[in-house]
């Protein structure tokens, strides 16, 4: 095997293929742009302006038309944050963790951020409790939405407004 010849062939094809992928991503329809920009897992390096309506749409995608159960998520968040760089969040899902009575996934959304999806947490019956703590950034005063997808198909939602005096420049 000649390494030089192989490298040459790979680079030529690789360049053509990546060009093709780029073309394909440019050709996405307009409605898909917002979804691609805000949901996708790939490394996103471009400034986007926050869009609350689009973030609500994202929450709707997670809910998939199911009616959320109230008062299942216990949310501990400050009402007012002087600095948006680090806002502590503690949440718990009140359920028994027996059988299918546990949250499979908990989504955290901050509606006023350029990328509103903050985190997803996955649990199993072996956790015993969904009490989780984290810290996140906020660009501006907005709602924080938590959606818990239970293993038995129910959906729980909690929402709280957080007033941010000095927003984080990232987000």
């Amino acid at each position: 095997m000649k390494p030089s010849a192989e490298r040459k062939a790979v680079s030529r094809r690789g360049v053509l293929a990546s060009a093709g992928v780029l073309m394909a991503s440019w050709a996405l329809p307009a409605w898909a742009e917002g979804i691609r920009n805000r949901v996708s897992m790939f490394r996103r390096t471009f400034p986007v302006q926050p869009d609350v309506a689009d973030a609500e749409h994202l929450v709707g995608i997670v809910l998939r038309g199911r009616e959320p159960v109230p008062d299942l998520i216990d949310l501990k968040l400050p009402l007012l944050a002087e600095n948006g760089d680090s806002i502590p969040l503690t949440f718990d899902v009140s359920c028994g963790f027996e059988g299918s009575d546990y949250p499979k996934t908990v989504h955290v959304f901050v509606l006023g951020n350029p990328f509103p999806e903050v985190a997803r947490y996955h649990y199993g019956p072996w956790n015993g409790s969904a009490l989780t703590e984290m810290r996140f950034r906020m660009r501006q005063t907005s709602d924080v939405v938590l959606v818990a997808e239970m293993a038995d198909g129910r959906v729980a939602m909690a929402r709280q407004n957080v007033e941010v005096l000095l927003g984080a420049c990232g987000g």
Partner: protein
């Protein structure tokens, strides 16, 4: 790969069947990918820890997916139910697929 920038804290002993807290702290800039550099020309590329995995005696018990908005030097606390003595391992995976991990020992005593 152990690193001084990753820390974990678990209680030394727990009773069997009790739910205990795993607290972790990573030292990381968590560059969000939406900030401009100081000369306002280029966007600083995103570089975050995008996944955190929790293992209990080699079995995965927790998974977190993180996105741009997680704070710098991310703190994470989660709960696991004690089954048997062993090792808690937490693994962070960055955007460049670099895995860093820390381990902690936990002793389970009979109630």
């Amino acid at each position: 790969m152990a690193s001084p920038d990753r820390r974990i804290h678990v209680p030394a002993t727990v009773k069997r069947g009790e739910v205990f807290e795993v607290r972790t702290l990573a030292r990381h800039a968590m560059e969000s990918g939406v900030r401009f550099s100081t000369d306002n020309i280029v966007v600083i590329p995103r570089h975050i820890l995008q996944e955190v995995l929790g293992f209990y005696n080699g079995r995965q018990v927790f998974r977190a997916e993180w996105f741009s908005s997680v704070a710098t030097n991310p703190y994470l606390g989660f709960r696991v139910k004690a089954v048997e003595s062993g090792e808690i391992e937490v693994v962070w995976i960055s955007d460049y697929n670099v895995r860093t991990s820390v381990k902690a020992r936990i002793e389970v005593i009979e109630a």
